[in-house]
């Protein structure tokens, strides 16, 4: 352990931020427990039957249990994992009387469970397991409970190992993306510059064929720069660090359209709900820009319609972007979401083939889903769901 007095200013600041984050985490864990419990039918019934006061008591208890369930030495690194991974992990331990309809009587039960929820959405459950124990059968229950606890503990260790592994591979990908974007791009730019100088200085001396070849070298370099840029964007996509803000979804659609849909030739219509949500705006707009951009870029007539339908249900948003373009044959529906895949030669339609791969990675990273409906001549419709933060105030 480092002595507090030897810490640097940055380290003390980091500790302070960490402390704040812990407080926040604790508050969110409580909300997550209730939210998760609601989704499990047995728990939901119990929660519904408990009055407010009782529920508060149970929550206080479960909070205490959460702290005790983990070995003291592991508590700090465990919380650090939660903080960095954006995951709320909470141990649920509730003892109460449950109505058994078959017996026509109340029986004492213990509910043991563990839940994992995404911090950014609090309610989106990543994983959960629960155990419903009849206290009257506790002789059997004790050993059962011990087995279950051992299982939970082993799951926790497994989870921690996966998290470490994931952190390592994320770091490697980050390093690679940086090397790709910076170190590979620098010599590429030099080649471009040198090519331009040759064209400038030797234009008159060069045969026209050679001038054309030099121009092609220039185009290829620009294309490779774009591939590297998009690769970097892909590797960065879906990181949890994006800032959450409150905004109107229609505004985000309009903003994305303003940079992707040309003023003339294309008509944009936005229909459906007009919700105001709390979520990470930047990645949502990146998804919309990619979808709207595709609708325009791949259109066979260079003019057409793009329809955006918005639906809002609880804390989930679903958006569908439909165009009247050439459509995609069913046999390619899976391929279009893979990295560096294009359906037409890059000399015809400039693109890295990363757009939908980025869309899929961002959406699925946030617990949403992407769907594609299209057939040749029928246009293309790509929809996605997007969990949002529950609005606390109406």
């Amino acid at each position: 352990m480092t002595d507090a007095t030897t810490l640097t200013r940055e380290q003390r600041e980091a500790l302070r931020i960490f402390g704040d984050a812990l407080e926040e985490l604790r508050a969110e864990a409580d909300a997550a427990i209730v939210e998760v419990a609601r989704r499990i039918p047995v728990f939901a019934a119990i929660l519904a039957s408990m009055d407010e006061r009782q529920r508060e008591l149970e929550l206080a208890r479960s909070r205490e249990l959460e702290r005790r369930a983990i070995h003291g030495d592991d508590w700090a690194p465990y919380l650090e994992h939660l903080r960095t991974q954006g995951v709320v992990y909470a141990e649920l331990g509730v003892e109460l009387r449950d109505w058994y309809a078959l017996l026509g009587a109340y029986r004492g039960v213990v509910i043991q469970g563990a839940v994992c929820a995404d911090r950014s959405t609090a309610a989106a459950v990543l994983d959960g397991m629960g155990l419903f124990l009849d206290i009257a059968m506790s002789a059997i229950g004790e050993s059962y409970l011990a087995t279950k606890e051992a299982m939970i503990a082993s799951h926790q260790r497994e989870l921690a190992r996966h998290i470490r592994e994931l952190e390592r591979s994320n770091r490697e990908l980050d390093d690679f993306a940086f090397v790709a974007s910076h170190d590979l791009k620098a010599p590429l730019r030099d080649i471009l510059t040198l090519t331009q100088w040759v064209i400038e200085d030797g234009a008159d001396a060069l045969p026209s064929e050679s001038r054309r070849h030099l121009a092609l070298i220039g185009e290829r370099i620009t294309r490779m720069e774009r591939l590297l840029d998009d690769l970097l964007q892909y590797s960065r996509a879906g990181r949890a660090a994006d800032r959450h803000e409150r905004f109107e979804v229609r505004r985000a659609v309009q903003d994305a359209a303003s940079v992707t849909i040309p003023v003339s030739g294309f008509e944009l219509s936005v229909s459906g709900d007009a919700p105001t949500v709390r979520t990470a705006r930047a990645p949502l707009e990146l998804v919309l820009r990619n979808l709207l951009g595709n609708a325009v870029k791949h259109h066979h007539r260079g003019a057409g319609r793009v329809d955006v339908r918005i639906a809002s249900r609880g804390s989930e948003l679903s958006i569908e972007v439909t165009d009247d373009g050439p459509g995609i044959d069913a046999e390619f529906h899976e391929r279009v979401f893979r990295m560096f895949q294009t359906l037409r030669p890059r000399d015809e339609v400039e693109g890295s083939g990363m757009g939908l791969a980025i869309v899929k990675k961002i959406v699925e990273g946030r617990g949403g889903q992407v769907s594609l409906r299209s057939s040749p001549g029928e246009g293309t419709s790509i929809g996605f769901t997007w969990p949002t933060m529950p609005e606390t105030d109406a």
Binding site: H182, K185, R189, D190, T193, L194, Q196
Partner: protein, 145 residues
């Protein structure tokens, strides 16, 4: 007009092509201000302090790349600001890095401007235009403090 003497440019850049690009842009725009080049922070410090070579005369401005071997741009900036004889130097950062932390570190060390190579256009045209206007209008620090 600033002082009678012509402003010199100290170009600190490890990439040969970028060094040549700046020289070329000056030539194409008929800017006669002399360019003195250094390939990293250590070479630049040698020139600024006149170690084993004539000292770079004032007035000058520094065009500084960030990623360089031996002593990088931020380290050189720190050395410049810490040296009483040259802490008033006017420095422009010229880099490929768009990273916020680089920008913040540079402005923390009072650079006159942070310029991204990708934004200065083909052949560094906009950089040359900026510099040409800059030293026509701006009074640079003269005598050594």
């Amino acid at each position: 007009m600033s002082g009678a003497r012509t402003v010199q440019v100290l170009l600190v850049e490890d990439n040969d092509v970028d060094r040549e690009a700046v020289r070329r842009a000056f030539r194409q725009h008929r800017i006669a201000n002399p360019i003195v080049a250094a390939r990293d922070g250590i070479e630049a410090l040698g020139l600024l302090r006149g170690e084993r070579q004539p000292k770079l005369p004032r007035p000058y401005i520094v065009l500084l790349d960030l990623n360089m071997p031996r002593m990088d741009g931020i380290e050189l900036l720190r050395a410049i600001r810490a040296d009483r004889a040259m802490h008033d130097s006017v420095v422009f950062v010229l880099t490929t890095s768009k990273a916020d932390e680089d920008k913040m570190a540079a402005y923390d060390l009072n650079v006159a401007g942070y310029i991204c190579k990708s934004d200065v256009g083909t052949g560094f045209i906009r950089l040359v235009e900026l510099l040409d206007r800059y030293w026509r209008l701006v009074e640079l620090p003269g005598r050594e403090p």
